[in-house]
């Protein structure tokens, strides 16, 4: 059934199609020989491609080239920042074992800080969030002020991957800087949708990834201020400031740079376009399901323009997903899976939503290939789908 219908892909926050230009960059590089660490001509050519890509990514993100550490994606960048900075800061001063984190983080950060607490003696403190999942500067200040000398790092995501709430990371970074505490931010969802400038943000570290902005899978970067030297996760050839060993994936890095450039160049037009589509999507869902609850900050200035996250009371998220999938509408429950089993959204739980409501959620996310037809297909399908899922109830 799904195969016979043109699918309406509404899951761009999971991954979005590559820009044709990025795919071209990548395919051009795939057959070029050269290890960027080699000293001969082939190596120098690869090195040049990598360094030009680094300069390009830096320019796209308002950073210096030396602040760009290429990684194998957002998860690695988050792990390197969180664990690496923890180990480095604790190494400088053994008292620094307190880790401050938002409970609405992506699992790449959430599980990393929990691992530090379980295995590395970290004392994990969850920063309070408001009903939109946002950490307020005052909350960070109060947490640090309890003892500024023992904080290893703080980590707060720029934009939430589930409900789309945007946090004022610059204001948080100002607070952290007052106490000389490094603040890391997962900007994986923010990049391409918001004006993301590393220098202007004041962050110590920031994670981005290629495949969410129209680049390839398996490549991303940790933007890292030069005064920080996180302890590496990967030891080896000492590439990337000795912070991230491993032969660089030149084709992926080059394509990532192309995608980053396009994401920034086309961002304003993209935001206008998906903003209008999102409005139509939200209106369509609300018309069909009047009691659907739109999650996250309703203010367009406080949220991702391409994200719409709903709770459907009395429905199981995976029932909704199955029924929409059967009609060729591809979306996500928004929350992580454990062994394929959808879990109640930890983000909604952190905002104080009751566990039952945190189960019946769907995230619709738009991207550069989204069309009016996608949104209309959803608007047409969602009413009967919710009715049916409701009759199946909560198991």
């Amino acid at each position: 059934m799904a195969d016979t219908v043109h699918p309406a892909y509404l899951d761009h926050a999971a991954t979005t199609p590559m820009w044709p230009e990025a795919a071209r960059t990548m395919t051009e590089q795939l057959t070029v020989v050269g290890n960027a660490s080699s000293l001969h001509g082939a190596g120098r050519r690869a090195r040049r491609t990598v360094e030009e890509s680094r300069e390009s990514v830096a320019a796209s993100l308002g950073a210096r080239p030396s602040e760009v550490v290429f990684t194998a994606g957002g998860t690695e960048a988050d792990n390197l920042a969180v664990k690496g900075l923890y180990w480095a800061r604790r190494g400088e001063d053994a008292r620094r074992t307190r880790v401050l984190a938002s409970p609405a983080e992506h699992h790449a950060v959430l599980d990393a800080v929990e691992w530090l607490a379980e295995h590395e003696g970290a004392r994990l403190e969850w920063l309070p969030v408001d009903s939109y999942g946002r950490v307020r500067p005052q909350a960070l200040r109060e947490a640090i002020e309890r003892d500024p000398s023992d904080v290893a790092l703080a980590t707060v995501m720029w934009a939430n991957n589930e409900i789309g709430t945007v946090t004022d990371v610059r204001a948080l970074a100002e607070v952290a800087a007052e106490f000389e505490v490094p603040l890391h931010s997962d900007a994986v969802q923010a990049f391409g949708q918001l004006d993301v400038s590393f220098a202007a943000s004041g962050l110590a570290a920031m994670a981005v990834t290629g495949h969410k902005i129209g680049g390839p899978y398996g490549v991303g970067a940790l933007l890292l201020r030069r005064e920080y030297a996180p302890v590496p996760l990967l030891h080896g050839g000492g590439q990337e400031r000795q912070v991230r060993s491993g032969t660089l994936d030149t084709p992926a890095v080059a394509a990532f740079a192309t995608a980053a450039r396009l994401a920034v160049e086309r961002r304003e037009a993209f935001v206008d376009e998906v903003g209008a589509l999102r409005e139509a999507l939200v209106a369509g869902v609300r018309d069909a399901v009047p009691d659907a609850v739109l999650n996250g900050d309703p203010d367009p200035g406080g949220r991702l323009p391409a994200n719409a996250h709903f709770s459907f009371p009395g429905c199981e998220g995976d029932s909704l997903l199955l029924l929409l999938d059967a009609q060729g509408i591809e979306c996500s429950t928004g929350s992580a899976c454990t062994a394929g089993v959808a879990q109640p959204s930890h983000v909604l739980l952190a905002t104080g939503t009751d566990p039952e409501s945190a189960r019946g959620t769907l995230r619709f996310s738009l991207g550069h290939t989204s069309t009016k037809a996608d949104v209309e297909a959803l608007a047409e399908a969602i009413g009967p789908v919710v009715d049916r899922a409701r009759s199946a109830g909560l198991s």
Binding site: M1, A2, D318, S319, L321, L322, L323, D325, A326, C337, A339, G340, V341, A342, R388, A389, S391, A392, G393, S395
Partner: protein
């Protein structure tokens, strides 16, 4: 009378089928056959453990992340959508807790029947029907026969050696109306099912069969019960009540059990002794000679009829008392909500809590839970 099998190939109308896929070879081939028969099939793996282990240990196959992965791969190859549904809480309440409570009460439950009755053909089926599916498909070896007037009957599989109708003897006619068993009416050996899986490109072709109880990770039922019920020392007595030894929990025994009694000295007649009775009230276990295991009659409760209830009056049937047990002739009568069964010749090792499934030829009449038994020879 025309009889149509429920096997997908014989159905006129394509159904929307939800295929329960454990990650094993049978359910994968069943899903593949249903899809090949033209049904619109969606695969679903039931997550039944709240904390699934990453990998299988031993020859078990349904409750790990690896099994879920195997099921997903099979669905990919068949070309059907696939989801994992979390029924762990329902399974814990309806199957695991019942299992523990039954043992605690001195009975010997069969959790597979319970799971079919309460999970696969209740929680899962209800959800499937609500979501617009017509039927649930499993890899059980049994046959549903549909009569012209729409009546459904459950029959043994064509291949008696693989028949699993015993564990399905709890399904009522409504459940049978929405059940699809694509493996039930083929005279194929397990090797042939594996060959079919291989031919279909299903990687589970060589996966070992699952047995034991799926929610007891290491197969150590006694260890599982001990962890749930603790240990409580009690007496092992003979039929006269004389104490022969002690045990660490009456639930650790099954009627008919011979090994593990750890009685210091042999019986006066030198013959082996068997567990005859388990009494949770005084936590005692009664042992005695094999002859005392012979049962002439039993009473069973909580009947489940796979179709019409039997007509009044005693009637001749055959009965099966355990999953791979032999069939034995009985006379049975359904009176006052109880099933009263008389064996034609004494039956050995019958434990309260077990299911008795009645057959009329190959047709499954129904099942009931054994409540009490009466011995063939009076107690010495």
């Amino acid at each position: 009378m025309t009889i149509a099998s429920s096997r997908g190939t014989a159905s006129a109308r394509p159904l929307r089928v939800l295929a329960a896929m454990s990650g094993g070879v049978d359910s994968a081939v069943a899903a593949a056959r249903a899809a090949e028969a033209g049904h619109e099939v969606t695969g679903v793996h039931l997550a039944l453990s709240a904390n699934p282990k990453s990998f299988r240990t031993g020859a078990r196959g349904c409750c790990t992340v690896e099994d879920s992965h195997d099921a997903r791969r099979a669905a990919d190859v068949i070309g059907i959508p696939f989801y994992v549904w979390d029924l762990a809480e329902r399974f814990r309440e309806d199957v695991v807790e019942d299992f523990v409570a039954e043992y605690e009460a001195g009975r010997t439950p069969n959790p597979c029947l319970r799971c079919n009755e309460k999970i696969k053909f209740a929680a899962l089926l209800d959800k499937a029907l609500a979501l617009g599916f017509d039927a649930v498909c499993t890899g059980h070896y049994a046959t549903v026969v549909t009569h012209e007037d729409g009546r459904r009957e459950l029959h043994r599989a064509s291949d008696a050696a693989k028949d699993q109708s015993y564990v399905l003897g709890v399904l009522d006619e409504r459940q049978l109306a929405h059940a699809l068993f694509p493996l039930g009416d083929t005279l194929t050996t397990k090797d042939e099912i594996r060959a079919e899986a291989e031919r279909r490109g299903l990687a589970v072709a060589k996966k070992p069969d699952s047995h034991d109880i799926c929610f007891i990770a290491d197969g150590d039922t006694q260890g599982f019960l001990a962890s749930r019920l603790g240990t409580a020392e009690g007496d092992i007595v003979d039929e006269s009540g004389a104490k022969l030894g002690t045990h660490e929990g009456a639930y650790g025994f099954t009627i008919g059990q011979r090994k593990g009694l750890r009685l210091g000295h042999p019986a006066p007649d030198g013959k082996p002794r068997y567990v005859l009775d388990i009494s949770p009230v005084d936590n005692s276990v009664t042992v005695g000679p094999a002859a005392s295991l012979d049962i002439a009659e039993l009473t069973a409760v909580r009947p489940r009829w796979c179709g019409e209830p039997p007509a009044d009056g005693p009637r001749a049937y055959t009965a099966q008392l355990r999953a791979h047990g032999a069939e034995t002739p009985v006379e049975a009568e359904f009176v006052d909500g109880e099933l009263r069964v008389r064996f034609s010749s004494p039956e050995r090792g019958v434990a309260p809590g077990q299911a008795i499934v009645l057959y009329d030829g190959t047709r499954v009449v129904g099942s009931a839970t054994i409540e009490r038994t009466r011995r063939a020879v009076p107690t010495a």
